[in-house]
Amino acid sequence: MTMTSWRQVRRRLPTVLWLVVVWLLLWWEWTPLAVASGIAVAVALVVVFPLPDITERLVVRPFPLLLLSAYVAYDVAISAIRVGWDAVRHGGSVSTSIVAVDLLSDDDVPTAVAASLLTLSPGTFVVAIDRVRGRYYVHALGTAGGSDVAQVRATARRLQRLVLRTFGAREARATASGRKGR
């Protein structure tokens, strides 16, 4: 086996492991047959549908990950109720806007994770990411005035900081805490 292909195998290993875990959870049995078939399916999937490599080294810090999960859960709950209330109270006259929010990182992974989490939270989703200008464009519901816009930006910034603390490389974390953003 050559050097490159060995590295490829190693890079795919976490994906294969995760697929096997899902497979076992779905079957809910820990027999050799279940494990063997799980590995076979996982390897086949990874070979047939290879994902592009993540070029940066991915770090995950467990404690910030907990903080991030708690914040996202809280944010999703609060804003689900807010969007529901907007639907009942304002309906067709709800005000919406697209707000530019500064990116706090240039790295692929934190940018993508923060964008999906922003989109997961009710009331906001990312319409576009402009990496040249370093901005997310966030569509937000219920933004009647400047204070609502400021709140969208504050939430996005807090979320990005948490994401960077969880997944960001060391330098990126430093810039995140140093840069104020808008």
Binding site: V22, L25, L26, W28, V76, A77, S79, A80, I81, V83, G84, W85, D86, A87, V88, G91, G92, S93, V94, S95, T96, S97, I98, V99, A100, A115, S116, L117, T119, L120, S121, P122, G123, T124, F125, V126, V127, A128, D130, R133, R135, Y137, H139, L141, T143, A144, V149
Partner: protein, 112 residues
């Protein structure tokens, strides 16, 4: 006790689902409707799954946990793709502020 917890979660999830559905009908444009269709529904579903999981054995509850996980992973992708498509094809009504259009406009100005 589990009855009470599960009842609160199930009814809460159902109510939030109804509010989301109401948003789909009442909100003014595609982008807002996508918001109403994907987000409160996700949270409502999570509550309902939690409410059901409380009453079930570990095996089934784990399955529901996987449902929740994949819902959380896939819902933002759907929202993003639909929302961006709606924006790019001009299905936008009454934005009170549009930084994206403003910045793109600035960008396309000739540099004199």
């Amino acid at each position: 006790m589990t009855d009470v917890i599960s009842a609160v979660l199930l009814i809460g999830g159902g109510l939030i689902g109804v509010a989301g559905a109401l948003g789909v009908v009442r909100f003014p444009d595609v982008m807002s409707r996508v918001q109403a269709a994907t987000k409160p529904q996700t949270f409502g579903l999570l509550l309902i799954l939690a409410g059901a999981a409380v009453r079930l054995d570990v095996k089934t509850a784990t399955g529901l946990g996987l449902v929740a996980l994949f819902q959380v992973i896939t819902a933002p992708v759907l929202a993003q793709v639909l929302g961006r498509t709606a924006y790019r094809t001009g299905h936008v009504v009454g934005l009170s502020r549009d930084d994206l259009a403003r910045d793109n406009h600035e960008h396309s100005e000739p540099q004199a």
